[in-house]
Symmetry: C2
Subunit: 199 residues, 2 copies
Amino acid sequence: MTETKSRRRGAELEQAILDAAWAELNDVGYAALTIEAVAARAGTSKPVIYRRWPGRAELVLAAWARQRPKPVPATDMGSLRADLIALFNRIARRAEGMMSEVVAGVMGEAFRHPEVAEILRERLRTAPLGDWVNGIVERAVERGELPPVTVPPRAARMPIDLIRNETMMSGGPITETDIAEFVDDVYLPLLRGLAASPG
Amino acid sequence: MTETKSRRRGAELEQAILDAAWAELNDVGYAALTIEAVAARAGTSKPVIYRRWPGRAELVLAAWARQRPKPVPATDMGSLRADLIALFNRIARRAEGMMSEVVAGVMGEAFRHPEVAEILRERLRTAPLGDWVNGIVERAVERGELPPVTVPPRAARMPIDLIRNETMMSGGPITETDIAEFVDDVYLPLLRGLAASPG
DNA sequence: CCCTTAAGAAACGCAACGTATCTTAAAGGT
DNA sequence: ACCTTTAAGATACGTTGCGTTTCTTAAGGG
């Protein structure tokens, strides 16, 4: 009971609401999340929330935005293949959990609310996957595993899109086997093909 | 007023309901589709629907399943690149429209109802993209555009997953430019890489 | 022709929506 | 220290759609 019984305002209150929304997301997920429950959890009332966000999607996206993405460290595993597997594994782990349900849920509403779609796209576009892939490829070139090669943005962005798709479609976690298969059957061949035909 | 005023039963009634659900999907989309509206449109009542399907997702999936997918004709455009662009374009056109909203909407519920997720996955897995890609690749090999190559299932499945992802994320239609970029920057390099490293 | 089955109509309680009203606490200026 | 503005919080509202229950009655098979 460290509660100040006093009445919160402005930023302080806003943080409390977003925290409550985040906690609620973790507890019941997006589909079952209600504004009333968030209000109750934050110790406030519905109108206070509706004064700030138009609806559930915007509230959730705001709560999500507050969670700072933990950086994906670029570990040198010694080989191109191992580096790729490690990177995609880290991306997959991050995509699992609640994220995919939130993304799927928000996407369902995004078709009716274009501005929500825009926020969601913005949020998902941030990941600098291109940089990570390029770093790994550069190391591979230095090692002599690969001829010099430039990876087009589309090719760099591809894995994260596929992993997100797979996570949402399968529901369950993506196994290391899946990722190894993807690396061996798709991404390594692609990199070799890019290296062969000069861009 | 061609209405038989009589009381429909069994299969006949079921078809009418599924037709109504499909029409409703086209009119208001998945998010706004209600069982009551479908019942009204079919000229029946809610319990009749609930006796057959547990909820909205199952009803919609059943209605969707009734729409037979028009076959994607394999047109020979004269070159590997043109064949791929044509194929991916046809897939993209098919994925647009209501489909992506339905997929997104159903996916949002799928996390709470694993059996729905399974039906959805089943539905999306049917497309024999692998065959089409292999057909195109074989023609390219015959033309001498490509060394003999076997395309792993994962590599064959990849475009349709990416196109679906892109359709849902962007909301709008996928342009021919997007597809050409994908073919030039990703898929052709991948095929060349697969051809280079024997599987 | 009867008897089983299921369609259809109506109403239910429930949950959450989004809004409106009103009181009262907080913040800030003078 | 007071007074004014702002907004928090409580409460209640009407609405919608849910999924279910009850009951009547039409259809179809034996």
